[in-house]
Each structure stands twice: as structure tokens, then as C-alpha cells.
């Protein structure tokens, strides 16, 4: 009962802030709404028992990426309104319509699959990892997913180098 209340409350905040993100005229406000949305998603993770993910969400997304966005918004010091020019060929309404149709289809699928639940596959007993959430994630990251983990770190390094290169004055 309590979980349901929390879920619906969080969902409302998440979706509300998300809608604000895409609808606000002011870019800085948009970023701030994005931070709020991320924070509520982090709470949802806590609700799902993914404490480590929640922490990462707060640290990386809310703390890192969004700050990056904020910096960019500050750097892009616009002299004119960014969305004044409009190309006549862009199909905004068609896009929204297709997006709504896809959403409707998704919902139909979800409803259909939840009314006819397929038997959930039972994991092999030995694979259940003891310990808390952080311990479990760490264990998996450093054993089964060691190589993807390292690749991700290399990806980040490359992205960093690329960002530095791109941000140079004399590009």
C-alpha cells in the first residue's frame, strides 16, 4: 500500500518534471527541471532496492552531467532566441502523432503481457549472490563484466580526450 503510494507519487514527479524539461522556454530552467527529474528517478531506484544505482544516478547524472549541461548553457550566451528560426519542412505534429502511436502500442503490449504473464524463469540457485546491493554489483562488475567495465573506462577516457579536443578554441 505504502509502496504503491510512493511509486505513484514518484512517477507523478518524474513525468511532471520531464514534461517541464521539454516544454520550458528557458534553457536554464529546463536543466534544473532535469535535475529534479533525475533525483526522483534516483528515489525510484531506492524503492527498487538498487541503492548503488541510486547513488550513481545522483553523483553522475545530477552531479556531473547536468552540471556539464549547465556550463554549456552558460557558455552558449545567446544573443537571439534559440528557436526563432523554423524550417518549414519539419514535421512536428507528425512526429508527436507517431510518438503517441508508439506509446499506445507499448501500453497495449504491457497490458497484454501483464494479463497473460509468462512463467518467470527461475534463476539457478548458485547464481544468487550473497550480500548487499553494492557488494553484489561490485562482485559482478569485477568478475563477469570486468572486460566491459574496462572498455567503459576506456570509452570515458576517449570521450574525455574528444571533448577536450572539441572544446579547443582553434578547432
Amino acid at each position: 500500500m505504502g509502496e504503491a503510494i510512493v511509486f505513484y507519487g514518484l512517477s507523478a514527479f518524474i513525468l511532471g518534471f520531464a514534461v517541464l524539461v521539454i516544454s520550458t522556454r528557458n534553457t536554464v530552467h529546463s536543466v534544473l527541471f532535469l535535475v529534479a527529474s533525475f533525483l526522483f528517478v534516483a528515489m525510484l531506484y531506492v524503492l527498487l532496492g538498487a541503492e548503488f544505482l541510486a547513488v550513481i544516478q545522483v553523483l553522475v547524472y545530477a552531479g556531473g552531467i547536468v552540471v556539464l549541461y549547465l556550463f554549456v548553457v552558460m557558455l552558449v550566451n545567446l544573443k537571439r532566441a534559440p528557436e526563432t528560426h523554423q524550417d518549414p519542412r519539419r514535421q512536428t505534429r507528425l512526429g508527436v502523432a507517431v510518438a503517441g502511436a508508439v506509446l499506445a502500442e507499448f501500453l497495449a503490449i504491457i497490458v497484454y503481457s501483464s494479463t497473460n504473464p509468462s512463467a518467470p524463469a527461475v534463476l539457478a540457485a548458485g547464481e544468487v549472490i550473497e550480500g548487499g546491493n553494492v557488494e553484489q554489483v561490485g562482485w559482478l562488475l569485477y568478475t563477469n563484466y570486468l572486460i566491459p567495465f574496462e572498455l567503459a573506462s576506456i570509452l570515458l577516457l576517449v570521450a574525455m580526450v574528444g571533448a577536450i579536443v572539441l572544446a579547443q578554441r582553434e578547432l
Binding site: D87, R89, R90, Q91, T92, L94, G95, V98, A99, A101, V102, E105, F106, A108, I109, Y112
Partner: protein, 716 residues
């Protein structure tokens, strides 16, 4: 004796030096020095080698020198399975080749010396060219003589043919000279064809072309007395080669024309040495020929016929060199007749004596021609005895020698041939005796017309220095002026020492050369034939077989005949010769009107002989005309059919390419353009999708997602 390979090489070096350097840089004296020097060295080496050869015991007088391996062994099919065709550049010194190198290098040297004066009218370049050719000729002739196998001999054989061609056409601006050169070359090709086939067949039959090995193998084979076997075929082919080189019927026509060359060339190549190469080759392969009696008969008959025919033509020729040329053909016929009856020794002996006296006669005629300012017609000579005594005396010696008057050289060799022929075949002997009479007649006719009687030549300006000093030279280009005589000519005169010297040496040779072969009937030992005999048999030993039996039979026959027969024959031949001499004396000195009367009585014969039996005309009518018309026919075939086919195919190609061009332009190009056009048209419409608006692309992606999800929904 180890250095016999140097004997041919020395004139070769001389030829290289005079030819490569001399023509541009040497003065006449330098050229003469190089040419004569190399020949002198070669002559001394030949004498040295010959002396060493004499020092050996008679059965061991063979010396081989392998200079280099020429053709390394390669497998080649022979009659007895696969053989190895290996040819060494090898020289062999044996009695026969020993005699020949003495003759070639000795007479060659004398003629070189003679030429230094005779060719003095040439420019320095022409002089060097002449001596280059002459030296080259000696190189090849010595190679031919010394070659230890058929192929080395063939190299020399072809080489002397080449030099003969070059020297006949030495005055190449004279049309007749170049024509004569070509004629000689072409006629010789026919003979060489036979020779080459003979060499092939020798290798195929015996698996080797070395003379000695062939000789040994052939000696072991049976004599083909009744059937015409492989040895007979070989001998016939080789004899075809010999007829070409030695101007026998039917290939004799080139030699008289070859007299267009300078006189020393006629003396050396077309009298003394090269033309005897055929006889030498037959002697070299004596064992083969003794195994083919049928071919021997052919050889003897052709030799006799040639002797008779050439002598009869010689009776009426008025050109001094042509008389000698026909005489040469006739004497060569004698030699072949001797080989045909198996008297190889006699043939070789006659070859040697003939070399002396014929070279002498030619050189003497050259001296006369020189003195008469290039006049060769005997009708314009006469009475030259008083103007040029040395030439007269030496030529008289030569004439006596060729006529067969003892004790001159020709008597012994010719008599030996007559005697051997008499033993073998009486009919041939009669022909030979008639020929001998004719020889005596035409030779003394030549002497009478040239040296006796009244002077019939052109008058000359009576200059102060008449009768002595050397003339500036012969002007070959000025033939028109010649008959009148030009300012520099001051009448007939004796030739300078370089000309008379060789004449005198050769005259001595013509006297004494016969003494090496004094027949037993006259108390001599016939040394030369005994000396040469090892070269004609396969050697002493069990392998000798039947060939030596033939020799044994013949020698037995010789001995069984009494010397009286031989003496009788000698007397007869001397009488015939004297008869010829007397007739010539009567007709051309005592009663010239009788000659006219005879000519009137026998017009037909006279014309026939004057026109050389129309052989040239016959050949021109058949072979030359046939070849020409055949060539013309082929040319027409070429023009009509082959060219037509070529043009037709080219026309066809043009049409086909025009069609394929059309196809290319309209079908292939059309297809390509269609592809390009459709691509550009479709892209023109499709590029509207490429708006450059990212959100349109995202919309398309989203639409794709929509489609996929819809499909999922419809399936499930």
C-alpha cells in the same frame, strides 16, 4: 706441330687487321706488309709442320689438334639409335692435308706478293680491302684443308665461297663483276645443299662426322657394288657439293664468269686452291667413295665429260683468262676422273702440279693483261715475246707443263691419271687422251696468239721512258678509254719484280713439282702417292677390311701390268700433245688462213663451241626463266589471293568493327546511360528526403520503430 692451329689463324689475324684497321688507316705499304707478313709466317709454319710430319714413320703420319670443343655433345637420332652430336674445333695434319697446306700457303704467299704490285692502282682503302679478302680466303682455305671433321671443313668450305664471291665482285662498280659474283654464289649454293645433306647423312649413318672415325666405320661396311645403298647416297650428295665447288658439269658455268675478278684472285681461288676443294673433299672421303663403286663411275664419267667439254670450249675462246678458266675446268675434270677410277693419289698429285702451273699461267696472263693496259682479248695481242721476256719464258714453262711435255710437272701427274684410267676404263681413257690433245692445242694457240706473230694491239705514244718504269695504275672505271689507250700507257712492257718474282718461283715449281711423282716405269719411286696413301685408307690394322683389299687389288693390278704398257702410253700421250702443239703452230702461226677455212667448213660446230654449248642459255631458259616465272606467278598469287585475302579480312574487320561500334554506341552506351540517367532521376526525387533536418531523420527512425512494434503486435 702442336701449333698447326696457328697456320689458319695467322692469315685470319692478317685479315682482321687489314680489314678492321687497314681500310681506314693503313698505307699500301703497311697493308702489304701485314698481309704478306702473316702469309709468310703461315707458309713457314706449314713448311715446319710438314718437315715434322715427314720425320715421322709413314704409318704414324697423323697429327690431331683439338683447339676447342665447338658443339658440346647433344643427343641426336642416328641410324643406330641415339647418338651424341659433338663437334670439336679440331685440325688434322696428315699427308694429304700436309701437302695441301704447303700448296695453299706457298702459292698463297706468292700471289700475295704478286698482288702487292698488281693491285697497286687501287686506292689505299681498296688495296686494304683486297688484301683483307685475300687473307680471309687463306684463313678459310687452310681451315678447310686442316679440318678434322666435316663440319670444320664445311666452315672453311662456306668461308672460301664467301671470299670467292667478295673477290669476284671486288670491282663492284662493274655490273658484270657483281653479276658474276652472284652467279658463283648461287651456283655454289646448289652444291652446298648437297654437301650439307651429305654431312647430315654421314652423321645419321655413322653417328660421327670426324673423318677418321667415319673412315674406320665405313671401312667395316660392305662395298655397295650392286645396290645403291646409303654410302652411295652419301657419296653422291658429297659429290654434288664437289661439283659445285669444283665447277663440274652441270654446275661448271660459274667458273668462267668468275674471271671478272682481279687476276691474282683468279689464280689463287679459281685455279690453284678453292676450286680444288671439291677434289680434296672427295680424296678426304676416299674410303667412303671406294665403298660406292657406282658413284665412283658417275664421278669418273662426269669428270671425263667435263674435261672434254671444257677443253673443247677452250679451243675457240679469245679472252686469255677465259681460255685458262676453261682449262681449269678441264683439268678439274681430269682430277675427278682420277678419283672416279680410284686413283686418289694421282688426283691429289695432279691437284698439286696443277696448282703450280695454273697459278703460273694465270699470273702470267695477269702480267700480260697488265702490260697491254687491261686488254684481255688475245686477238689484240701478239708478238709480246720481245717486250716481256720473263713473262714469256715462265708462261712457256707453264704451257709445256699443262700440255704434258716431259719433264715438266704436268706430264707426270697427267700421265699417271691417264695410266690409271687406262687400267680402269678404256673409253674414259680415249676421252682423256683427246682432251690432252685439245689442251696442248689451245694452250699453244694461246701462246701463239699472245707472244708470237705480229703485234696487233693498239698503237702507243712513243714516249721517252717507254718500256720500263712502273705505270701509275689500272683505271678500272675507264673501260671506254681502255681500247684507245690513255696518255699514261707507253706500250707493252715487262712487269716489275714483285710480279716476275712469283712467276719465276712458280715456273721452277712447275718444272720440279712433278719429280716427286716419277712413275716406276721411268725408274722413279712415285714417292708422292706412297706418301699420300695413308690418307686414303682407313689405316693399317684389322679394321681396314675391304677398302684396303681394293687398294691391294689395284696395286696388284698396277704391278702386274708391265712397265712397257705404261711407257707406251706415255709416248702416245706425248705424241698427242705434240700433235696439238703442231696443229696450233700450223693454224695460228704458219697458215692463219687455214683457220678461217676450217671455221667456214664447220660453222655449226664453231658456233656451238663459241657459245659454250649454249649451257648458259639452257640454264637461263630453264632454271632462271622457270624460277623467274615461278616467282612472278607466286607474286601474282601473292598480289591477288594473299593480298586479296588480307584486304578482304581487313574489309571484313572494318565492317564488323563498324557494326560493333554501332552496337557499342547504341546498346552498351545506351545501357550505361540508362543506368546513369535512372540513378540521377531517382536520386533527384530521393534527395528530397535528405532535408538536412535531423529531426526528420529521427522521425523516420521513429516511424521504423512504429512499424516494428506494430509487426510485433500483429504477430503476437
Amino acid at each position: 706441330m702442336k701449333v698447326i692451329w696457328l697456320i689458319p689463324l695467322l692469315p685470319g689475324i692478317g685479315a682482321a687487321v687489314t680489314g678492321l684497321v687497314g681500310i681506314r688507316f693503313f698505307s699500301k705499304a703497311q697493308t702489304a706488309l701485314v698481309a704478306c707478313g702473316s702469309m709468310t709466317l703461315a707458309a713457314f709454319l706449314s713448311i715446319y709442320a710438314f718437315i715434322q710430319l715427314l720425320a715421322l714413320p709413314s704409318e704414324a703420319r697423323v697429327y690431331d689438334v683439338v683447339v676447342a670443343s665447338w658443339i658440346p655433345a647433344m643427343p641426336l637420332e642416328t641410324a643406330g639409335g641415339m647418338g651424341a652430336f659433338a663437334v670439336d674445333w679440331a685440325f688434322r695434319l696428315d699427308p694429304l692435308s700436309g701437302m695441301m697446306i704447303l700448296v695453299v700457303s706457298g702459292i698463297g704467299l706468292l700471289i700475295h706478293v704478286y698482288s702487292t704490285s698488281y693491285m697497286h692502282g687501287e686506292s689505299a682503302a681498296g688495296y686494304a680491302r683486297f688484301f683483307c679478302y685475300l687473307n680471309l680466303f687463306c684463313f678459310f682455305m687452310l681451315t678447310l684443308v686442316l679440318g678434322a671433321n666435316l663440319l670444320v671443313m664445311f666452315v672453311g668450305w662456306e668461308g672460301v665461297g664467301l671470299c670467292s664471291y667478295l673477290l669476284i665482285g671486288f670491282w663492284y662498280h662493274k655490273q658484270s663483276a657483281t653479276d658474276a659474283g652472284k652467279k658463283a654464289f648461287l651456283v655454289n649454293r646448289i652444291g652446298d645443299w648437297g654437301f650439307v645433306l651429305g654431312i647430315f647423312l654421314v652423321f645419321f649413318t655413322f653417328g660421327t662426322i670426324d673423318f677418321h672415325e667415319v673412315m674406320v666405320s665405313a671401312a667395316a661396311m660392305p662395298i655397295e657394288a650392286t645396290e645403291f645403298g646409303v654410302i652411295s647416297l652419301i657419296c653422291l650428295l658429297l659429290f654434288v657439293g664437289a661439283t659445285g665447288k669444283s665447277a663440274q658439269i652441270p654446275l661448271h658455268i660459274w667458273l668462267p664468269d668468275a674471271m671478272e675478278g682481279p687476276t691474282p684472285v683468279s689464280a689463287l681461288i679459281h685455279a690453284a686452291t678453292m676450286v680444288t676443294a671439291g677434289v680434296y673433299m672427295v680424296c678426304r672421303n676416299a674410303v667412303l667413295f671406294t665403298h660406292a663403286p657406282m658413284v665412283m663411275t658417275i664421278v669418273a664419267i662426269i669428270g671425263a665429260l667435263t674435261a672434254l667439254m671444257a677443253a673443247s670450249i677452250g679451243l675457240l675462246q679469245t679472252d686469255i683468262k677465259r681460255v685458262l678458266a676453261y682449262s681449269t675446268v678441264s683439268q678439274l675434270g681430269y682430277m675427278f676422273m682420277a678419283t672416279g677410277v680410284g686413283a686418289f693419289g694421282a688426283a691429289a698429285f695432279h691437284l698439286m702440279t696443277h696448282a703450280f702451273f695454273k697459278a703460273l699461267l694465270f699470273l702470267g696472263s695477269g702480267s700480260v693483261i697488265h702490260a697491254m693496259d687491261d686488254e684481255q682479248d688475245m686477238r689484240r695481242m701478239g708478238g709480246l715475246k720481245m717486250y716481256m721476256p720473263v713473262t714469256f719464258v715462265t708462261m712457256l714453262v707453264g704451257t709445256l707443263a699443262i700440255a704434258g711435255i716431259p719433264p715438266f710437272a704436268g706430264f707426270f701427274s697427267k700421265d699417271e691419271i691417264l695410266f690409271q684410267t687406262f687400267l680402269h676404263n678404256r673409253a674414259l681413257w680415249v676421252v682423256a687422251v683427246v682432251t690432252a690433245g685439245m689442251t696442248a692445242f689451245y694452250m699453244f694457240r694461246l701462246m701463239a696468239m699472245t707472244f708470237y706473230g705480229e703485234y696487233r694491239g693498239p698503237a702507243w705514244e712513243d714516249a721517252a721512258d717507254h718500256g720500263g718504269a712502273e705505270r701509275p695504275g689500272i683505271d678500272t672505271e675507264n673501260e671506254v678509254d681502255r681500247s684507245r689507250g690513255h696518255g699514261a700507257w707507253h706500250g707493252p712492257h715487262e712487269s716489275p719484280p714483285p710480279v716476275t718474282g712469283p712467276l719465276m718461283v712458280l715456273a721452277v715449281g712447275a718444272i720440279v713439282a712433278g719429280f716427286v711423282g716419277i712413275p716406276a716405269a721411268l725408274g722413279g719411286g712415285n714417292a708422292i702417292e706412297h706418301f699420300l696413301e695413308p690418307s686414303f685408307t682407313a689405316g693399317v690394322g684389322p679394321a681396314v677390311g675391304e677398302a684396303s683389299e681394293v687398294v691391294a687389288i689395284e696395286s696388284a693390278a698396277i704391278h702386274s701390268n708391265s712397265h712397257a704398257t705404261e711407257l707406251g702410253l706415255m709416248v702416245l700421250s706425248i705424241l698427242v700433245a705434240l700433235g696439238g702443239v703442231a696443229l696450233a703452230h700450223r693454224l695460228y702461226l704458219k697458215r692463219p688462213e687455214l683457220a678461217e677455212a676450217w671455221r667456214a667448213r664447220w660453222t655449226g660446230v664453231h658456233r656451238l663451241l663459241l657459245n659454250k654449248y649454249y649451257v648458259d642459255e639452257l640454264y637461263h631458259g630453264t632454271v632462271v626463266r622457270g624460277t623467274m616465272s615461278g616467282g612472278r606467278g607466286l607474286w601474282r598469287f601473292d598480289g591477288r589471293v594473299v593480298d586479296g585475302a588480307v584486304n578482304g579480312s581487313s574489309w571484313l574487320t572494318i565492317v564488323a568493327s563498324w557494326c560493333s561500334g554501332l552496337f557499342d554506341r547504341y546498346v552498351v552506351d545506351g545501357a550505361v546511360n540508362l543506368v546513369g540517367w535512372s540513378a540521377s532521376e531517382s536520386s533527384f526525387s530521393l534527395r528530397r528526403i535528405q532535408t538536412g533536418l535531423i529531426q526528420n531523420y529521427a522521425l523516420i527512425m521513429l516511424f521504423g520503430v512504429f512499424v516494428f512494434v506494430s509487426m510485433y503486435l500483429l504477430i503476437s
